[in-house]
Symmetry: C2
Subunit: 407 residues, 2 copies
């Protein structure tokens, strides 16, 4: 409940042959007996996600993948699931089974990891059971063209060194830009407009709102949190105008009207789009809305499977807005969760959710797939601002993105 | 992640003999196949908690208890665990096995539920398998002295009626007082002081802070969220002074100094103490600190098992403060999670956590146990204010509690 959000954790994925000792390695790293450790090869079928604290690395998401040297139908599914994991992996650990050494499997794993520019650490586990001769290890290192660290999850030999290595190899930019902090100076005030509609879970704020408040505090600024109806009075009550107003996208129009021209205005979705991915790509995608033709195909992608409201944004509102914008019928497909189709070339536009449940790596992957296939991609927040004709103003804090819109 | 907090859900517990059909009833209520349904009696051993949405009732916590007519050692443990569930139950559903009818078990269950003033609904499940004759049902109702509703989880017969009944029977006051809303008027401003220390999880706010922000918005007021260091400037930036300042207890002294005399000041812990339980009892408990003697026994009770910091509040800080206050050694015991000892008469003081992971019912139960045994009970927030000599000011918004302190 009081945990670091999933999307803000460094995602460390553990790969390796069945029974190479992946689960026991995770236990050794965390000093916990959480992962099911079994001597029967292939116990782990689907990737298992474990939110953990690895000191001094901090909050991480450990992903215990299925052993993917499996054969048969189930094996093929496992391979696919495991490859999907790579789309969100910030740091890969490949566990080599000393009984098997470097096989085609490890080689192809390394190739897939390298292709995606994911930092990789290779270890040989169970070093207490089978100690590879020094020259065997050297041979493997040569085959893999990578240093291999010898350790034993059971005796904890080499575990501390592995932790140091993980810290060292963790990509410096995995968190991306701050949510808002880099746009602020100490002592600034930000006004956050948080509507309370029927979709808001009782007693809670939604994650992007909490993350924004926290990031403001982390950067020595303060914020005023207010519903749209009280915004005008709250602004009038401030002696110094705020540095910025941030609103829920769905209240953009009202908040635009109530926020003085000289105050910067943006939305939580636009902040998260920049934090989680690449605002410029999404703004370029927004421009493609004007080129949509009746009959075009649009993919709507959501990162989680949430309880749908009657006027659900992805299912109802966005299709309606786009149809109105195009002045005709469009063909919509929807995907949610980890499913993001490989083949997207049939679409003229992809509309993605705010991805609060995805990590940055996964969002960057999806943006890269779209760019590669030259399919414009926009997200909910950028689309809403565009449809309501206020995207230009909402990009005020981001001059580069504003330029792209102007081009 | 974006869910209603556990403590803010109506807790509905399902009791009944082994295999009376408790799990299948939960499934029928929620249209989900979540509970493990089995034809083997006694599948459910420990109580299982399921956060669910039962429309139109809203977010609830369903508690699937073990069948407690079991015998033997495991049976005794089950009975104890199930009885612990009663301490947090807002609404009890007793499922009667039509093959067994009303036995001593159902009678004792009803007695235990009634004793605690918990509203109770009795149902007979599997009405499609074994239809009790009308006069048998009438006999059971007479034995139990309660109306029994006939339903079938499998065919959904009677499920909608049961939902209506649950809504009707849910105690009106189960949520207690609002966190802060009843102290505010529309348009008010509240200043919230949220320190960011090493204990604050990355990217998050802690639950009482989020609940307070949300409750302020729900009551048409707005809030300024600020770290203790920026409080002075944030106050100076408001044209109208705020209705109230609410601070994390650990910053009480600094915030007290920076908040003008004429502005009400309290803490998140004191707000939550009132919301979750009974502020007056805790203030009476705080007065007992002055009567502690060296050698006295103090019980420190926490509602959850959290990651402990080096200067943990429950393990380190509070014992240190109390020793200083007493001017001598004290004997401390600690309990956490659902364990709250029945026998507390050996203690001269109980210090309870903010109970953000407990529901109101459970907290009221613990307070009642303490009152019954005449053991003073205080919570972290009230204790901290007391130790720092600012409890009187922190109770400014609560005149009744202030009077108790004055007595």
């Amino acid at each position: 409940m009081q945990d670091t959000p999933k999307g803000s954790r460094l995602h460390i994925a553990i790969f390796g042959r069945r029974n190479a000792g992946k689960s026991s390695l995770i236990n050794a790293l965390t000093n916990q007996d959480i992962a099911l450790v079994s001597d029967i090869p292939g116990t782990t079928t689907d990737p298992v996600y474990k939110a953990m604290e690895i000191l001094p690395l901090g909050p991480v998401m450990m992903i215990d993948t299925a052993g993917i040297d499996d054969v048969g139908d189930l094996g093929a599914l496992r391979v696919e699931r495991t490859m999907q994991v790579l789309n969100k992996t910030d740091l890969a650990v490949v566990v080599i089974d000393p009984a098997a050494g470097i096989t085609e499997f490890e080689m192809s794993l390394k190739e897939n990891i390298s292709k995606r520019n994911i930092p990789m650490v290779a270890v040989v586990n169970k070093a207490d059971l089978i100690t590879p001769e020094q020259d065997v290890l050297a041979l493997w290192e040569k085959e893999l063209d990578l240093k291999i660290y010898s350790l034993s999850a059971q005796t904890k030999l080499g575990i501390e060194e592995l932790k140091r290595l993980l810290i060292e190899k963790a990509p410096a930019d995995w968190e991306g830009t701050p949510v808002i902090g880099d746009l602020l100076q100490g002592g600034d005030t930000v006004v956050l407009v948080v509507p309370i509609d029927t979709a808001a879970p009782k007693g809670r704020l939604i994650l992007p709102q909490v993350q924004t408040i926290r990031d403001i505090l982390d950067h020595d600024a303060s914020c005023v949190v207010v519903k749209e109806r009280e915004l005008k009075d709250a602004l009038a009550n401030l002696r110094q105008p705020p540095r910025m107003v941030v609103t829920d996208s769905q209240e953009f129009l009202k908040v635009d009207a109530d926020t003085p021209e000289n105050v910067l205005l943006t939305s939580f979705s636009i902040l998260m789009a920049r934090h989680k991915g690449d605002l410029e790509t999404l703004v370029a995608g927004a421009k493609a809305i004007d080129k949509l033709q009746p009959g075009d195909k649009v993919l709507i992608a959501e990162g989680c499977t949430h309880h749908r409201q009657a006027d659900d944004i992805g299912k109802v509102k966005i299709p309606r807005w786009l149809r109105q914008s195009v002045g005709g019928e469009l063909h919509f497909d929807w995907v949610s969760g980890i499913d993001f189709p490989q083949d997207i070339s049939q679409y003229q536009l992809i509309v993605h959710c705010g991805s609060c449940m995805l990590n940055r790596r996964e969002m960057l992957y999806r943006l890269a797939v779209a760019r590669e296939k030259q399919v414009p991609i926009v997200n909910y927040g950028v689309l809403i601002a565009k449809i309501h004709g206020i995207l230009y103003r909402a990009l005020g804090p981001f001059p580069l993105a504003q330029m792209i819109l102007d081009e």
